[in-house]
């Protein structure tokens, strides 16, 4: 497969996953905006923007985190590279470039999302409810994902798509957690307070995982349980372990198909081994922030290795 084609596939997945994250942020942001600001919950919104690297852009253009601004920025704004509109457009453009590597169903799912997005953009904003925008996005990202899983050949292109999905998801999970711990809780005396629990719940909501969490753990929401759920639990669809296992699996399939092991496979395996031998206590001892910072760095290193090995393929 052409390296450029693999690169386009990888980015289709990253953009679709990012659109999904932005839509979840939109939902959380909207909930926050309904809470009276006297209680200080506004900072939740700031921190979520910061987590996704969008805080500066938002401040510059909008300032006030009221409902309409949040919607504009996270859904419609083309200046925001992570907005739903930007991501879906970019994913569809990447798809258009590599149509020959997609099935009709996958292309159709991407193209329909894009066409409907354009129709949404033409509608008066007063007719569009936030909950509809979030649902709309999640429906379309799921349709693309479903079309990929249901119809695509399990060839190298399929592996590159999945590597893109898992890398993007791992990065999002780690960043959202990191901000929660580092930015929101600079003061130790907040830990375990009611406010803290509310903020953790917001985090779970942002990852669409708060119901799953309760099914899996029950009882009080504690930092330790959440860290276990989002980092170590292989049942959680967004945990770092799940994502890294996914990456390692698809890199392994590539190595087998191409008959060559590379740095990318070695890095992924090392990360997975590390996660599998880890405990929540040790993570908290090291410091959640320190642990997550290290993980984000490792994930970036892995992403670079994938790029250098497969996606840019300079002459060999």
């Amino acid at each position: 497969m052409l390296s450029r084609t693999a690169d386009n596939l990888y980015w289709i997945a990253r953009y679709m996953e990012r659109a999904d994250t932005s839509a979840r942020l939109l939902e959380v942001g909207s909930r926050i905006s309904l809470i009276p600001s006297a209680h200080g919950y506004r900072s939740e919104w700031d921190s979520l923007l910061q987590a996704s690297g969008m805080a500066e852009g938002f401040d510059k253009k909008y300032g006030d985190p009221v409902q309409r601004n949040i919607e504009s920025y996270l859904f419609f704004d083309r200046d925001n590279g992570s907005s739903v509109a930007s991501c879906i457009t970019a994913a569809r453009e990447n798809g258009r470039i590599v149509r020959t590597a997609l099935t009709a169903q996958v292309w159709d799912a991407l193209n329909v999302a894009y066409e409907e997005l354009r129709a949404l953009e033409r509608r008066p904003r007063s007719e569009l409810q936030q909950s509809r925008l979030t649902e709309w996005t999640m429906r379309h990202t799921a349709m693309v994902r479903g079309a990929i899983d249901a119809t695509l050949l399990r060839n190298d292109g399929y592996n590159f798509l999945n590597i893109g999905y898992y890398l993007e998801r791992a990065d999002n999970t780690a960043r959202l957690m990191d901000v929660k711990y580092y930015v929101l809780l600079p003061r130790v005396d907040f830990v375990g307070s009611g406010l803290d629990n509310y903020q953790w719940t917001t985090l779970l909501r942002a990852m669409g995982a708060h119901r799953a969490f309760h099914w899996a753990y029950g009882g009080e929401v504690t930092a330790a349980k959440i860290a276990h759920f989002l980092i170590l639990n292989p049942q959680s669809p967004r945990s770092l372990t799940t994502c890294v296992a996914g990456i390692a699996n698809h890199l392994g399939r590539l190595a087998k198909a191409y008959g060559a092991e590379t740095d990318a496979q070695r890095l992924a395996r090392a990360m997975l081994t590390g996660l599998e031998g880890e405990t929540v206590d040790r993570i908290i001892d090291e410091g959640l922030h320190e642990y997550l910072t290290r993980f984000i760095g490792d994930a970036a290193g892995l992403s670079l290795a994938v790029h250098n090995t497969y996606l840019s393929r300079a002459r060999a």
Binding site: L2, S3, A6, R96, D108, N111, V112, D156
Partner: protein
């Protein structure tokens, strides 16, 4: 009486090829028609066939309007067209081999040397090189118009990279999906062999150094090109990679593409970019689209380029005038298809005639395309004609003129119902080890009442083109 030949009627009688369409259209209620038209548009949009027009701005995903009323040729009509088209494609290729070789036709005084050797499209870099199987132009698009039951004229030849074949294929797919009954009632020759024939044609001109099943690729300028859809569509149907310049590189005597498994050798490049951009070391040094060193590999037989660099000299509008001469000179045959009488403003006598008759003529730039930079005398105001006159006088060599042809019409769905609209035809002739022509082509239709300009960039649409089996 209407002065134009309507392909559906002879007087008040319906011509035989259209007999069943008469029942079809009269049985179709208006409501159903709009429903079908909307369905067709939705299908095109879903498939993603859109067309961006250079320099027009606006919607980058505009659709070329598709008209559901087909255009029909009988088997007899087509067999004559087919012979004429193949004859022309053979002669054009013979001409190209000749003018990059000994130049017999020039020596024989059948075409002026200046027109060939000083032509902008004449590529000095390939003088003396004979491409595999002696083919320069592997896909010849010949634009035809019709003025009467037996009167076909060649408007121009496209020897480089004629576009539009994806519409020929998709128009057919859509018609078959929407009106299966029509295809049951009429015996319509299929066109879907085209991608396979194209792949075979390209593989048949593999370079001398290729000693295995050749790897064929399509080279595109990229996804921002207005014909990108077509490039990816063809690559998909042919089962070959669609590459950009950055995906290819030269190493030693061969060209390779960058793949996730490392470099892979490429043997035949069907390029959809102009000569000037394919190799910055040989042609335009500022080209970001090309592959440095490609021409060296090409000339040493390491890769084939289709169409071959230099093919453009055969489809120049001034050289066009001499195609009937080429047919006589190389094939010893009389041309089956006629040329449109053409005056060359570079010739003093012709220029005088053109300037006298300007309001009746169509004037075109020698290197123009897409229906731009042309004058359609009978459709222009006095002021427009005078402005054009000044341009011709300033640079006569840049223009040719032709009489305004009475382009045939085909019934077309319009807001008020069905009305005749002017059409042309572009069939795609494949030249490799063999010469092949699928029975069909792209019919373009001028949707504006009275308009003779069928270019999609100027309000033209497309129709499915049928050739009936005997």
């Amino acid at each position: 009486m209407h002065p134009y030949f309507n392909e559906m009627y002879q007087g008040t009688d319906v011509r035989v090829p259209y007999a069943r369409l008469q029942d079809w259209v009269s049985a179709m209620p208006t409501a159903l028609r709009s429903l079908k038209q909307a369905e067709a548009e939705a299908l095109f949009r879903r498939i993603g066939i859109t067309f961006a027009v250079y320099g027009e701005g606006g919607d980058p995903d505009r659709l070329i309007p598709f008209d559901m009323f087909p255009r029909v040729f009988s088997a007899v009509e087509w067999s004559r067209l087919e012979r004429g088209i193949k004859q022309r494609a053979r002669a054009l290729n013979a001409f190209l081999v000749d003018v990059y070789g000994r130049g017999e036709i020039v020596r024989a005084g059948r075409i002026p040397a200046r027109l060939v050797y000083q032509n902008e499209a004449y590529e000095k870099a390939v003088v003396g090189f004979v491409p595999p199987k002696g083919v320069y132009s592997h896909i010849v698009g010949i634009d035809l118009v019709r003025t009467g039951p037996d009167d076909f004229f060649v408007l121009e030849d496209n020897c480089r990279t004629p576009s539009g074949v994806s519409y020929m294929l998709e128009n057919r797919e859509i018609m078959m999906r929407m009106f299966p009954d029509l295809f049951r009632e009429n015996r319509i020759e299929p066109v879907d062999r085209y991608p396979e024939l194209l792949r075979r044609t390209l593989a048949s001109v593999a370079p001398h150094k290729c000693d295995r099943e050749p790897t064929v690729v399509i080279l595109t300028p990229g996804s921002f090109n207005s014909a990108y859809y077509e490039h990816s569509f063809l690559a998909d149907l042919m089962g070959v990679e669609l590459v950009e310049g950055q995906d290819l590189f030269v190493d030693g005597a061969f060209v390779y593409m960058r793949t996730t498994e490392g470099p892979r050798r490429v043997d035949v490049i069907y390029r959809r970019i102009d000569d000037a951009y394919i190799d910055p070391l040989c042609f335009r040094p500022d080209s970001m689209l090309g592959i440095p060193g490609l021409m060296d590999v090409y000339r040493s037989g390491g890769v084939s380029i289709c169409s071959a660099p230099g093919a453009g000299v055969a489809d120049d509008k001034a050289v066009y005038t001499y195609v009937p001469e080429m047919i006589r000179f190389y094939l010893g045959e009389e041309p089956i298809l006629q040329n449109v009488p053409t005056w060359q403003c570079a010739k003093h006598d012709d220029l005088g005639h053109v300037l006298d008759k300007l309001p009746e003529l169509v004037v075109k730039e020698v290197h123009g395309s897409g229906g731009y930079g042309m004058l359609v005398g009978p459709k222009c105001t006095k002021a427009e004609i005078e402005a054009f006159r000044a341009k011709i006088i300033e640079n006569p060599g840049n223009y040719i003129a032709q009489p305004t042809l009475a382009l045939s019409t085909v019934p077309t769905f319009v807001d008020e119902g069905v009305a005749p609209r002017h059409v042309d035809l572009r069939p795609y002739c494949l030249v490799g080890e063999r010469i092949e022509l699928v029975p069909g082509g792209l019919t373009r239709v001028a949707l504006k009442d009275g308009s003779l300009v069928v270019n999609s960039s100027q309000g033209g649409g497309v129709k499915d083109t049928w050739v009936l089996a005997e």
